[in-house]
């Protein structure tokens, strides 16, 4: 059995084009549109020899593979490594990297803790924090939008909502980036991320303990599920870890990407100012247009077929969500950021049973920031080109100098 990047090497399935591309090339990660388009143009799947994986980027097949948890499992890891054959760098997540029935139990707890009701209850608090931050930035006029806005806001409101007693902004952001970089191959990005482990992981593990969480907040509610016997104490800690893994870096990315969309599409920003009701679909359009999580893997647990392609058991399939979200056949004028679009069906938050469990919270956080901006800021402008920060699974900005002009 030949192994590549922690999974079994496969033969290219009959009729599937072989494409010698590196989806993790830092240049592609920074500017992926041409790669997305070529991936879609080649067919429903391509075989990528250097990693011996299949990749899909058309909306239809990506949606099928990404949502059908019975044939395309998550328990063998959502990165290149096959957890059935190798031991992952950290104990697998008990909500992300698991299948039903085990998944149903933990998912139920998290869905309740992060319900729309729970997110709504935080709306005023989120809005007050957003008003304060946007006022400060307006006063200054120009600022670094990633370091001083996108990273600041979630690391301000999220630890509070969690009930974390200690906050280390940098560790919270970097831990997320680490978890996502770990999904890729053994490249520079992954090695650098892993090198941060000894410093960050013990801190994160410590914050997941019951005694390091306030009496109120998502953390306490997760531990309450342990008290009620729904999960055990260790599982509660693991679910808190999931929130810390997936709840910070992703929202930072969402805010940064939303600002980038508005700064580079001033006519769309005008529409939002005229009609703030468009804010909600506009954030969905940001998600479709920028795909903060650009790709995740699934593993086939049986021989199967998708769109006439035979796929062998044990195959890693890279689901390129960014490509699916820019598929012209699903989204007319996909290359255009259009706040009038209703992009329901985008795959940026996943779909089906593994759909992002924190999506209500993410929408509430970003929604509060955008609402404050629309109310206070007349003009958003880039004062220097934005730079992207390559990551094996996240498409995020590294820096974006912006200016805000009041109404």
């Amino acid at each position: 059995m030949k192994m590549i990047e922690g999974h079994v090497a496969i033969e290219p399935p009959h009729g599937v084009p072989v494409w010698d591309v590196d989806p993790y090339d830092p240049e592609i990660l920074a500017d992926p549109d041409a790669y997305y388009a070529e991936l879609r143009s080649k067919g429903p799947f391509v075989y990528i020899p250097r990693y011996s994986i299949l990749a899909c980027g058309r909306h239809q097949e990506t949606q099928e593979v990404f949502s059908d948890w019975e044939r395309f499992v998550s328990s063998r890891g959502v990165g290149l490594q096959d957890f059935k054959l190798e031991t992952p760098w950290r104990p697998p997540s008990i909500i992300l990297e698991v299948d039903p029935p085990a998944h149903s139990r933990t998912r139920k707890v998290m869905a309740r803790v992060l319900s729309p009701k729970a997110a709504n209850a935080l709306r005023e608090q989120f809005r007050a924090a957003a008003d304060k931050l946007i006022d400060e930035l307006l006063e200054r006029g120009s600022f670094e939008a990633i370091a001083e806005l996108a990273e600041v806001y979630p690391t301000d409101v999220f630890p509070q909502a969690m009930g974390l007693k200690k906050v280390n902004r940098r560790y919270l952001i970097d831990y997320g980036a680490m978890v996502f970089n770990a999904l890729g191959p053994d490249n520079d990005l992954r090695r650098k991320a892993m090198a941060m482990g000894p410093q960050i992981v013990p801190w994160i593990t410590e914050q997941c303990k019951r005694e390091n969480l306030e009496q109120e907040g998502f953390g306490a509610e997760i531990y309450a599920a342990a008290d009620a016997g729904e999960i055990n104490e260790g599982e509660a800690g693991m679910l808190v870890r999931s929130l810390l893994s997936a709840g910070v870096d992703t929202t930072v990315t969402g805010i940064g990407s939303a600002l980038w969309c508005l700064a580079t599409n001033p006519q769309e920003y005008e529409k939002l100012k005229d009609n703030p009701k468009l804010l909600r679909p506009a954030f969905e359009e940001v998600l479709r247009f920028t795909s903060p999580v650009h790709s995740f893997c699934r593993t086939t647990d049986r021989d199967t077929q998708v769109s006439g392609v035979d796929i062998a058991a044990g195959t890693k399939i890279l689901c390129v969500l960014g490509a699916a979200n820019s598929d012209e056949t699903r989204w007319p004028h996909a290359e255009k950021f259009d706040v009038d679009r209703r992009p329901t069906g985008h795959l940026a938050m996943g779909s089906g049973i593994h759909g992002c469990v924190g999506q209500n919270l993410a929408r509430a956080e970003v929604g509060a920031v955008l609402a404050a901006i629309v109310q206070k800021v007349g003009k958003i402008e880039l004062t220097a080109p934005a730079r992207w920060r390559p990551n094996n699974a996240i498409h995020a900005l590294d820096s974006m100098p912006l200016s805000f002009t009041p109404h």
Binding site: S115, P116, E284, T344, S351, I353, Q359
Partner: protein
């Protein structure tokens, strides 16, 4: 194809020929019905495709799952006896002629 009717909060009616096998939320989105948001696209996460179902279909629809029950506790407009998530209503001959009312807010 199956006939489905949406009545918005102001009483305006829209009747569509919806594709069998889709769900009611998808049919509404595809036709640009304003009162349905469907943010989570049927993952039963967001409660933004809430509708009030008229009889006789209310009684003949399959029962709500536990997940739908929980999500209906999170709707932006009041939950009523005939509240359902439209993403959980499968389109097919058995719901032909169904009439659903849209809430004020999602």
């Amino acid at each position: 194809m199956t006939k489905v009717t949406f009545v918005d909060a102001d009483g305006n009616k829209t009747t569509l020929d919806a594709r069998d096998g889709d769900n009611l939320m998808q049919a509404a989105i595809a036709d640009g019905i304003d009162g349905i948001v469907g943010e989570c696209c049927g993952a039963m996460m967001c409660a933004t495709c809430h509708v009030y179902v008229e009889e006789p279909h209310l009684t003949t629809l399959p029962q709500r799952s536990e997940g739908e029950e929980e999500m209906l506790e999170c709707t932006a407009s009041e939950r009523r006896k005939n509240s359902r998530l439209s993403c959980q209503i499968k389109i097919g001959p058995d719901i032909d002629g169904i009439v659903v009312h849209l809430p004020e807010e999602q």
